[in-house]
Symmetry: C2
Subunit: 445 residues, 2 copies
């Protein structure tokens, strides 16, 4: 009860509806213990406040936020004080809580709390891609051993229901390929560089000002967040346990306005892509910026939006496109798991981590965009083209943009491999003919 | 047993895996009785043949096609003869069948069979949008009364898991708007008119040759099929029972190459769209071709692909894009329901048809593209513009394309309503200044 003697249910507006539903025995309860009350936790409180009655009507599940764990006392909270606690055990030990919702992020204590909640007989819903990427096998084994459920829809691409699309909607398919834009921060930065003609640094500052990038943006701009999400999708789709070391990973920090401009002239936009492609039992796993044709399904995916394109052997290509982050989109995905668990207590994503295979690398081949910063000197283009030719790299387009004696040579190649490109670029760099680091970007087709 | 003494399970390659699973008690059975063995039914047989083992591993459900009902004896079938029957009761009465799969299409006898199967204690999966659009309320009431489940993922947009996306993935949202491309035949025709520069008749013939249009294409090109799907989505999303009479509906047969070309010059593609938009308790429901900006999320949705864009109050815009028809995509969606029902026998889409409201019309406003066929005479553009002005319709672009004394006047308007447009066009037509029927197409923004 709060000071006015009102129960938490009436504060959330559920009072009358709950009593009615309980009398007629129609609704299933979902009594929630939140771990964390930050961005996503506040979004959950907001959704319950605004939509709980409608959700109960449409799903038959009656939502109640019982209690929330926070780290710091004294801050303003969207729940009454008596529902805000500093002690996690009061959530794990409470028989009046059905589902524990982990929305605190980070590896510890989140991992320990998830395992403890499952051991205490609670099902768990999490939005935490970092902990699943590093410890998914152990966590899913614990869920299997305890017979409880683990929902993780919100861990990949926020509001987009990609996990249930892969594990339920496309269950009849063998999936050979996933290509996506999995990180909203880097997509926003590249979109603003394109649409507003900004440098990387200017676009990053704009993202930070708009709450779309952290003060330390490393996880986002270096592709680590996208890599975590790709690891979760790879385990779900290919039953293969991958780690960060198994992926080729490159961030977006080296991209310059001239790359955006020349890509556009050639009919491409630059997007931060993630690829998981199977051939036999080998996997091609990578996260990197790429040139994407205007008319590609991922072409219009802009700003903080994410998308996943899945190729199933029965469905063909399927694309899911929506907001991949943010308080309400992520809370929406968390809530979809809560409703599903409350409606089907005995179901669960069939994830048998002990059967996961190690990654057997497949090196992907593609066309490349290459940029070489140079001082204007005769013979340079010939030298660059000759070295490329020595590695079997054929050129389809070459462009020199020079101003006052310095500039860039841009080259578009035929299909080749990352190995050949790296070797060629190393040799060209070692020849001392460049005025700066060369850049190579794959072309997605 | 077939002549070689092999059981149906071994014919489908499930023998060893089934025995193993039965010994360890791990898998749940899904023993299927198919009603129909045509395009979609054959797709189901193909999926079971190719992917049943993998599906069992990933989902814990063991698939078995027990029997299939056909209309005509003597045709070649993808199942052994002893599994093909002419008598539906042998499916409804068999305790060895768990789920009845209705993939015959049409209103009767499909409707009667669905009701009979539910009464006989079977859960039902259907791909039939026509029967749900006309009789959904009665069918879902029967499912509710018998406590059995009804899966209908395949009834809207084939392989795209839109039903589970709306009823599960986005359950936490209030949805205000759905905009989609729901019919692959008309999207293919308009795409080919655009990309191959064909007339409507030429593109329709191409579609028929490629198996993407029926000999009688009326349901597809007149928007009836899309309207059925919109009705199913409207009931699910807005709990509102709509009929064909509640929708504004227009087909694609009046579109000419000049419309495709001028739209392109203005930065649009013409797509067959379906809209369900809520404002308060009023609904704007319509199916019609529209000018879609290149960069709109629906812009790249081409050929036989479908897409649905949903606006949720927590997720914001979400787009689902994939193959909306065809044997394997539709069978994939049917299979997703089968797996879901087998895993969760007590769950079901919460659809309470007695609560459905009647449609309270909302007239949508938009910008329009108008085309007026004329003989070249001075003063005509002035006359047309004056009449439009009398109905409060402002002009943003006007274009006359004339050749040897005949041609068209194309006009793009500011925002107006269908009522004003219809009245203005009627007056202009009645004035006797046109050489043919005028065309009006909304602009989607």
């Amino acid at each position: 009860m709060d000071r006015a003697g009102r129960s938490p249910c009436s504060l959330l507006g559920l009072d009358t509806l709950s009593r009615g539903a309980r009398i007629f025995g129609m609704s299933k309860p979902a009594r929630l213990g939140l771990l964390g009350l930050g961005t996503v936790g506040s979004g959950l409180v907001e959704i319950v406040r605004k939509n709980a009655a409608s959700i109960e009507k449409r799903s038959g599940v009656r939502l109640e936020i019982v209690r929330a764990l926070v780290k710091s006392p004294g801050k303003a909270r969207p729940l009454p004080l008596e529902q805000v606690v500093l002690d996690a055990e009061s959530i794990f030990n409470d028989p009046g809580i059905d589902i524990v919702v982990e929305v605190m992020g980070g590896i510890e204590p989140a991992k320990g709390y998830i395992l403890r909640a499952l051991e205490a007989g609670k099902s768990v819903v999490t939005a935490n891609k970092a902990v699943l990427a590093a410890h998914g096998a152990e966590i899913f084994q614990k869920a299997k051993d305890t017979g409880k459920q683990l929902g993780f829809e919100a861990s990949v691409c926020g509001g987009i229901p990609i996990i249930r699309a892969l594990s339920s909607g496309m269950i009849a398919n063998e999936v050979d390929e996933l290509v996506g834009i999995l990180n909203g921060t880097s997509n926003y930065i590249l979109t603003r560089m394109y649409k507003d003609k900004l440098s990387f640094e200017e676009a990053l500052r704009l993202a930070q000002v708009n709450g779309l990038a952290e003060a330390d943006p490393t996880f986002d701009v270096e592709g680590i967040d996208a890599a975590h999400k790709l690891i979760v999708l790879t385990e779900l789709t290919f039953q293969t346990k991958a780690t960060l070391d198994d992926l080729e990973r490159e961030g977006i920090t080296q991209i310059e306005p001239v790359d955006i401009k020349v890509a556009d002239e050639f009919g491409f936009v630059i997007k931060p892509v993630a690829v998981a492609r199977r051939q036999g039992d080998a996997l091609d796993l990578r996260v990197h910026p790429a040139l994407v044709p205007f008319e590609h399904p991922l072409g219009p995916v802009s700003d903080e939006f994410n998308a996943v394109m899945v190729k199933g052997d029965a469905t063909g290509e399927m694309i899911f496109h929506g907001k991949g982050a943010g308080s309400l989109p992520t809370a929406s995905a968390v809530m979809s798991d809560i409703i599903e668990i409350a409606r089907n207590p005995s179901s669960g994503v069939m994830w048998n981590p002990t059967k996961s295979r190690r990654v057997n690398h497949l090196e992907g081949r593609s066309r490349y965009y290459l940029r070489f910063p140079i001082h204007d000197r005769s013979g340079l283009i010939g030298k660059i083209a000759t070295v490329l030719g020595n590695y079997g790299i054929s050129i389809t387009h070459a462009l020199a943009r020079l101003n006052n004696g310095t500039g860039n040579v841009m080259i578009v190649t035929h299909e080749t491999s990352e190995t050949e490109v790296c070797r060629a670029l190393a040799e060209i760099t070692a020849a001392g003919v460049l005025s700066g680091e060369p850049l190579s970007l794959r072309i997605l087709e």
